[in-house]
């Protein structure tokens, strides 16, 4: 299985600011994803982070709000821009390891926007 490290694990931010979350994987993976888990809710896919090209966003999510970088096969960042209290969520990085269909998840980044 893959070991996935996310930073920060939690943060409290002010409205209108932006925060970048980092995801580091201990091995090269093709597929990396970013999910959001709002309080008491299930997981919603934000986007697929593509290495060397623009991320692929799901309906309801846009690049201006959630810019994503993926400079190589082991690292990705998600930025939550111009934050509002509605962005308070857990943001989870996940990878599909060796085309198994299984997703492995980081510990998540718990974001609170005041």
């Amino acid at each position: 299985s893959a070991v996935i490290s996310q930073k920060p694990s939690r943060d409290i931010c002010q409205r209108g600011t932006s925060l970048t979350i980092q995801c580091q994987v201990d091995s090269q993976v093709t597929m990396m994803f970013w999910y959001r888990q709002q309080p008491g809710q299930s997981l919603t896919l934000i986007a697929t982070a593509n290495q060397g090209s623009e991320a692929t966003y799901e309906s309801g999510f846009v690049i201006d709000k959630f810019p994503i970088s993926r400079p190589n096969l082991t690292f990705s960042t998600l930025t939550v821009s111009n934050m509002s209290p509605e962005d308070s969520s857990i943001y989870l990085c996940s990878v599909e390891y060796e085309n198994t269909g299984e997703l492995f998840f980081g510990e998540g980044s718990r974001l609170t926007v005041l």
């Binding site: 996935i4 299930s42 997981l43 998840f105 998540g108």
Partner: protein, 116 residues
């Protein structure tokens, strides 16, 4: 589009008793089905999956799940519950995302509480 239903928000069971967490799904084609567990303030951990083969799938921590194609169900089970099993459980089905790639669609989750 694919979907997953977990009809119970919460399941309470006494320690030592068998437990079942229910899941039904809807997807085009052959289903790839998964169960994940989330402990408080933690990420999700993979428990087990069904892709093909035996309808009874065994996974981590003594959990198993039964795939029933006619009922489109994939219920999670354990013969004897432990207090440490108390957590949030998510069922997921693999399908095609809105952006056209393969992706997991998750149910809303079921909170399992095992009572000593």
């Amino acid at each position: 589009a694919q979907s997953v239903a977990q009809p119970e928000d919460q399941v309470n069971v006494a320690e030592g008793n068998p437990l079942t967490v229910k899941c039904t799904y809807s997807v085009s084609g052959n289903p790839y089905l998964f169960w994940y567990v989330q402990y408080p303030n933690r990420g999700l951990q993979f428990l087990l999956k069904y892709i093909t083969g035996d309808n009874l799938v065994k996974g981590s921590y003594g959990f198993e799940a039964e795939f029933n194609k006619s009922q489109t169900s994939f219920h999670l089970k354990k013969p004897s519950a432990l207090v440490s099993d108390s957590a949030l459980y998510f069922c997921a089905v693999r399908g095609v995302s809105g952006a056209g790639s393969y992706q997991l669609t998750f149910g809303k989750g079921t909170k399992l509480s095992v009572i000593p």
